[in-house]
């Protein structure tokens, strides 16, 4: 009986006092389709961390849309790190006081260990000869991308097309609007998310070209068969970042900052970068980028800050009700 009481007291003490030693587990809240990528990253990180620190750690994963994840963290999901695909959703954590305002300077490349860009998936042999954004406005081309009102993916597509058009028509807004309106009219059906758009294109056979992130395009080609589809990278596209951050509020209360930092640093290591590139993400690490050079054709990238003055401005000017998107999205 005394033994039982003692162990109960010990268990209580364990629960009641914050652990003095560093925790050996970490929760990574990530975007919805990153499961396999982080399975592989985690499987490589754990032995690397053990070799360096002699501690076996557990990495737990949570996957959902990043707006959902940001909301959950604000409500108490104890994620030590976030690995998102939308900068704006990390900004929500900054506003909530969970992530420090200078998070983008804590890690290299604006805290984006890898990146991608909107690219094209076309049917094998590219029968319609689609090579660049201009082709999407042709009368004989049917285009598939999800609804920019509901899909972050499609917002990148819209902005990338606009960035191309701004250069092509030398900033003539009337021509840009005319071009974008034509592109939107070429979309037979707007799915709510990227997944639905891929299904519409691949399984329902709709459209001549699907626009989504290059990482998705390349995965689709290898998954659905290079004999059926091929990827096309346009001349210019928009940088799509995959931002990462330490959730300060959580790591400070758990004492897990060192582990969280080591984990995110690992994503920038040669091994971490190689895994990301193997999963069709472009990386900045020169050694690894060279190894995967034939997978990723040259492309000129613009970023949202330079081309559109940042995400806050974009949300207000383009995606708000009655904004610039509504001018060209006449068939919504």
């Amino acid at each position: 009986m005394n033994k039982l009481l003692l162990s109960a007291a010990a268990a209580l003490a364990l629960v009641a006092t914050p652990a003095l030693a560093q925790p050996t587990d970490l929760l990574n809240a990530s975007y919805d389709i990153a499961r396999e990528l982080f399975d592989e990253e985690n499987a490589a990180f754990i032995p690397a961390y053990q070799a360096a620190n002699g501690v076996a750690v557990t990495i737990n994963q949570s996957h959902a849309g990043t707006s959902t994840q940001a909301r959950a963290i604000l409500e108490g999901l104890p994620a030590d790190v976030v690995t998102f695909n939308q900068v704006t959703d990390i900004e929500k954590l900054v506003e909530g006081g969970f992530v420090s305002a200078d998070w983008q300077s804590e890690f290299a490349n604006s805290a984006s260990p890898f990146y991608s860009l909107p690219a094209f998936l076309v049917r094998a042999g590219n029968p319609k000869g689609i090579s660049d954004w201009g082709d999407l406005a042709r009368d004989d081309v049917s285009v598939i991308f999800p609804n920019p009102k509901t899909s972050g993916n499609a917002r990148y597509t819209y902005l990338a097309a606009r960035a191309w058009a701004n250069e092509e028509f030398a900033g003539d807004e009337a021509k840009v609007v005319e071009y974008l309106t034509k592109v939107f009219l070429n979309v037979p059906v707007f799915e709510t998310g990227g997944r639905g758009a891929t299904t519409a294109f691949a399984e329902r056979g709709l459209g001549d070209v699907l626009i989504t992130f290059e990482a998705e395009v390349l995965s689709a080609v290898s998954l659905l068969g290079a004999d059926k589809y091929e990827s096309v990278v346009p001349s210019v596209s928009l940088l799509a970042e995959f931002p990462v951050a330490i959730v300060d509020k959580v790591v400070d209360s758990r004492g897990s900052r060192d582990l969280a930092k080591a984990y995110l640093d690992f994503l920038y290591s040669d091994d971490g970068q190689r895994i990301a590139a193997g999963r069709n993400h472009r990386v900045n690490n020169e050694t690894v980028a060279a190894e995967f050079a034939d997978r990723f054709p040259e492309v000129r990238l613009v970023n949202v800050d330079e081309a559109f003055g940042g995400w806050a401005k974009v949300s207000e000017e383009h995606f708000a009700e009655g904004g610039l998107l509504d001018q060209v999205f006449v068939n919504q």
Binding site: A16, P18, L27, D32, I33, R35, E36, N60, Q61, S62, H63, A64, A72, L74, E75, G76, L77, P78, R195, S219, L223
Partner: protein, 268 residues
């Protein structure tokens, strides 16, 4: 004796059969054909994948907690509103019904606003290092809420129809309250309780909306079977998703078989 069917009858029968085929049978068959399309080996490998296995375990454990609690609470509520007349009785009946007529997402959001970090009790919970949201406890809580009416809904009509004569007879013959309940009331309502349990179980296992809000979707910790199916499906892991879906379907089938066995025993 045979009778030729009229054209109208044939059309109606054909319509009904076609409808049943494409609305019920084909989707059910598809679940298993997709799950098994890469062979039995891959099927079982998908099921014993640790995270899927954990999701199955978590869903079953949740049901094992929620079903008994809600059966007992449902029976107590049904007892209260059918055996007693009091002010606010109709209101109570409506409140019992409420969770079933509400969208599950509302249930999830309400719990988040109550127990979440920015919710009513959030600051108090955090000050005491208590985590409710995004733990299995949160999943159990919303499941309790969402399925609260199912047992009572089965019991209330039955108990008000049966009336109180049997129980009054038992009492007048000298039974005490517990004896009356065990030997008179319970046998009368046991069948409705089983039915309530089946419905509650089906809903707990299948609940997606409310659970998705409060789960946090931590793999191997708070991912229930429906969430795991959604995750696998979004990953383009169709075989894995359908393998997980087939276990959910099999659990549903097992529940129904169990119900039929109990039913035949009762009549047999």
């Amino acid at each position: 004796m045979t009778r030729s069917r009229s054209a109208g009858e044939i059309i109606l029968i054909t319509l009904a059969v076609t409808l049943a085929l494409f609305v019920l049978v084909v989707p059910l068959v598809l679940i298993f054909s997709f799950a098994l399309r890469e062979g039995l080996g891959v099927y079982f490998a998908n099921i014993i994948e640790p995270n899927t296995l954990h999701a199955i375990w978590l869903s079953v454990m949740t049901a094992l907690i929620v079903v008994p609690v809600n059966i007992v609470v449902g029976a107590a509520l049904a007892w209260l509103v059918t055996r007693f007349r009091f002010r606010g009785r109709q209101l109570l009946i409506s409140i019992i019904e409420l969770p079933a007529s509400m969208s599950p997402i509302v249930a999830g959001v309400v719990y988040l606003f109550l127990y979440g970090g920015q919710g009513l009790l959030g600051p108090f919970l955090q000050a005491n290092s208590l985590q409710v949201m995004f733990t299995p406890l949160a999943i159990v809580l919303v499941s309790l809420f969402v399925t609260a009416p199912f047992a009572a809904r089965e019991l209330i009509p039955l108990m008000s129809q049966q009336g109180t004569e049997d129980e009054e007879a038992a009492l007048s013959l000298g039974a005490n309250g517990w004896q009356m309940f065990w030997y008179v009331t319970l046998p009368n309502i046991s069948w409705a309780m089983v039915y309530g349990a089946v419905l509650t179980n089906a809903r707990v296992m299948g609940e997606f909306g409310a659970v998705s809000v409060v789960s946090g979707a931590i793999r191997g910790q708070t991912n229930t079977l429906p969430l795991q199916i959604n995750l696998l499906f979004n990953d383009f892991n169709v075989t894995g998703a359908f393998a997980a879906a087939s276990t959910l379907t099999l659990i549903a089938v097992a529940t129904l078989v169990l119900k039929s066995i109990l039913e035949s025993r009762r009549h047999g």
